[in-house]
């Protein structure tokens, strides 16, 4: 096996170069992809910048999502620390009110759209196809397009930091009429709108891909009821995305038309109703929070069985609950609007629906406990984060149920109680789940195991810091401290909890710092491990670490739920099947791989330029820049359609065939 050539950085004694060469993520099989005599350039290199820009490999795309997500997570975290520093003491003047508004807006937008969602997407991309026994997603170039459009959206949203108008400052939910041209005359909100639109396009395209992949590309024998729970949650999240994002798309279109073309959607003087923005936003916004939590629930549902040495308790019920949560999530949006005067009937209806949605969530928790019960528990780092998830998410659920009672919510709305609630479910829930997933699947993705000591240390510091930050906020909220205000007076009884919360935030920051440092260290110098370090249950663990470009040397046949567990305990049967399938693949000429392509990237660049034209340019130049971007985009799409979806064939490594 020839060593991969030309890593990203030119040859030197640079340890980074060394690690990227050795991680094998870049190129395990240096089978030269044959070039085709054609008009279209087929990128064939496996290393270097171009190989990353043209990749259609779901594992590389997942890795890129992860890198960007972790970067923006740090950005969002820095924004949060600044917020906490400002609020540490009353009447603080570290930040002006304007700066504070930009920080809490960008903290929310960044964490939701640029950190948690792409981190979930990283796992959907890397892990899901492996779990169903597929070689890639249904539309590999569309997958690449989603990634680069996400990057374009992330750029547009953050451009304001580098411009005189500053970052968007109207909250992550951008209520009208604050976001109208009258009250937000400069371009910061335009950038917020266009950035979110791009992120929506990226998310919808990726989700369509995942739906088709899960439905249509499962290995033989992988019936829906044998799917790993993480794959089920991927499917439900994808459905939520394609059905919920159109609502915010429309809301943003209407807002943009008001801002650019002086329409009247939210213009009160001509009959507009700003409350319509709230409805359309939350029709999206509520399913969005389930989009944020379902992947983490899926990850936890993989980790608990592995480290309890037992199958998941009540698999069909857990799946069905996931579906119910997704479906009911569309029926509760106005619980964000209890105090807007919708009337008794509407308020009561939404309160009831909100209480109902707690039921399937509770059912899942009972099933997770059932999984742990009587199991042979192994308290590894992923398990710690998963257990932390169960407890912390429950606490977030308790404060959530308190919100569901509309009269109680009348006091809690817009107070720190809400902040406590959603940080418990988002950090204690989503983030813990995702951090657990990184630890759990790190060995699979990079072939190295994270040190138990440092992993557990990072868990405990994060756990303590997180609770120290957000538990006091329950009391702050019940004692009347309002959200989104840059300072407070000293005589309101809020001083001590705020100070404690800031200390907690510092501890949380240290914990995250430890976590990140450990990860980076392990990536370059961690203990190397072979296959299946956790003795796990699902198909992705049947692969070498890191997996080869083509995933499975031979497409597996699935016989039961927890497919890999079955394989490990029926070795002869599986070996026989593999030999038969290997012969069939040989007869086809080997494994079919898709060509890499530059056109998804080109299309995204065109969209980025067009969005800059619409959102950033002044009226004199808007049209020209938008048109140039449009032409680039159309050229990208056109060439993408015309290059066709042929591919090439490769043969698996001998060692993969025999493993």
């Amino acid at each position: 096996m020839s060593p991969p050539s030309s890593p990203i950085f030119r040859a030197s004694n640079n340890p980074i170069m060394d690690a990227t060469v050795k991680t094998n993520l870049i190129a395990k099989d240096d089978h030269a992809a044959p070039t085709r005599a054609s008009v279209f350039w087929r990128p064939t290199s496996k290393t270097g910048l171009v190989s990353w820009l043209t990749t259609v490999d779901h594992k590389r795309i997942g890795f890129l999502y992860g890198i960007f997500a972790l970067f923006f997570f740090l950005v969002g975290g820095a924004e949060a620390l600044l917020i906490r520093l400002q609020l540490a003491v009353p009447n603080n003047d570290l930040l002006t009110a304007q700066q504070y508004n930009e920080l809490f807006t960008m903290h929310g937008t960044t964490m939701i759209f640029l950190a948690v969602m792409p981190l979930s997407a990283a796992f959907f991309n890397f892990i899901m196809p492996l779990q169903i026994g597929a070689r890639d997603v249904a539309f590999p170039r569309l997958n690449a397009f989603s990634l680069w459009t996400f990057v374009a959206g992330a750029i547009i949203i953050n451009l304001g930091w580098f411009m005189k108008e500053g970052a968007p400052d109207a909250g992550w939910f951008g209520y009208a009429p604050l976001t109208s041209k009258t009250y937000s005359p400069d371009h910061s909100i335009d950038m917020w709108v266009m950035g979110l639109q791009l992120l929506g396009v990226a998310s919808i395209a990726a989700s369509l891909n995942f739906i088709v992949t899960i439905i249509n590309m499962r290995a033989p024998g992988m019936t829906m009821m044998r799917l790993p729970v993480f794959t089920w949650m991927t499917l439900f999240t994808a459905f939520l995305i394609v059905l919920a994002f159109p609502a915010i798309t429309i809301a943003l279109v209407e807002l943009m038309m008001d801002r650019l073309f002086h329409t009247n959607f939210f213009e009160v003087s001509n009959g507009g109703l700003p409350i319509l923005w709230q409805h359309l936003f939350w029709v999206f916004g509520h399913p969005e929070v389930y989009i944020l939590i379902l992947p983490a629930m899926g990850i936890v549902s993989e980790i608990l069985p592995t480290f309890s040495r037992k199958p998941l308790f009540g698999y069909p019920i857990v799946v069905f609950s996931g579906a119910s949560i997704g479906f009911l999530g569309f029926a509760v949006w106005s619980h964000h609007m209890f105090t807007t005067g919708m009337g008794t009937v509407a308020t009561a209806a939404f309160a009831l629906a909100t209480m109902a949605i707690a039921v399937p969530t509770g059912v899942k928790i009972f099933n997770w406990i059932g999984t742990l019960w009587g199991g042979h528990l192994q308290m590894r780092t992923p398990m710690m984060f998963a257990l932390g998830f169960i407890w912390m998410f429950m606490m977030g659920g308790f404060s959530g149920i308190m919100h569901a009672a509309a009269p109680a919510d009348a006091q809690q709305q817009d107070s720190y109680f809400v902040i406590a609630h959603f940080h418990y479910v988002l950090i204690g829930g989503s983030l813990f789940g995702l951090l657990a997933g990184i630890h759990y699947w790190f060995p699979l993705m990079f072939g190295r195991r994270v040190s138990e000591f440092w992993g557990k240390l990072s868990f405990w510091v994060v756990f303590v810091g997180f609770n120290a930050t957000f538990f006091p906020m329950h009391f702050l909220g019940l004692n009347g401290m309002p959200r989104r205000t840059f300072t407070y007076d000293a005589n309101l009884g809020w001083n001590t909890p705020n100070f404690l919360a800031t200390i907690g935030a510092m501890i949380l920051g240290v914990g995250i710092g430890i976590y990140f440092s450990v990860m980076i260290y392990t990536f370059f110098k961690g203990e190397r491990i072979k296959k299946d370090p956790w003795d796990a249950r699902t198909l992705e663990w049947s692969l070498p670490t890191p997996p080869p470009e083509y995933n499975f040397a031979v497409t597996p046949t699935v016989h039961a739920r927890d497919a890999y567990w079955y394989e490990k305990h029926h070795k002869e049967e599986i070996a026989k099947e593999k030999a038969v399938h290997a012969k069939e693949d040989e007869a086809h000429g080997g494994i079919h791989m898709p060509f890499a392509s530059i056109y998804p990237f080109v299309t995204s660049v065109g969209i980025l330029v067009a969005s800059i034209g619409i959102a950033v340019m002044d009226p004199g130049h808007k049209l020209v820049v938008a048109l140039v971007g449009g032409v680039i985009m159309l050229a990208g799409i056109f060439l993408w359609a015309h290059e066709g979806n042929e591919g090439y064939h490769i043969r698996p490594d001998k060692e993969d065939l025999n493993s």
């Binding site: 439905i215 459905f239 394609v242 059905l243 609502a247 009959g271 109703l273 409350i275 319509l276 409805h279 029709v283 569309f330 029926a331 106005s334 005067g341 919708m342 009337g343 008794t344 009937v345 509407a346």
Partner: protein, 123 residues
Amino acid sequence: MSISPAKADHHGSDDNKFQIYIQIAMLLAVLTGVEIVGIFLPFPTWVIVTALVVLSAVKFLYVIFFFMHLRWDKAFCTILFFIGLMLAGGTVWALLAIFGAKDSIPLTSISSATTVVANYLAV
């Protein structure tokens, strides 16, 4: 891949399809004509509205099940589309119910202050 002849016959012969499409197109045209005439007929509003909704639904269903081939495709395609359709329909209905409620009538479209107060008290 071997194709069993039975499968091809399953969705009718191809000439049959051609005829079906033409017939449905004519039906759609006729239904549209009925709708247009119907709005001018002297029936109570609720009768006309119901008729319009029913006729539109019939046209809608004919297009999706025949022109869009759902009748002959795997059931999952139908389920997938209806999930989106039902969700959209439910959301539209809920929004109209909320905005149609007494509490949501914009003050600008109520003629007098006494009406506003009366509405508020009549809760």
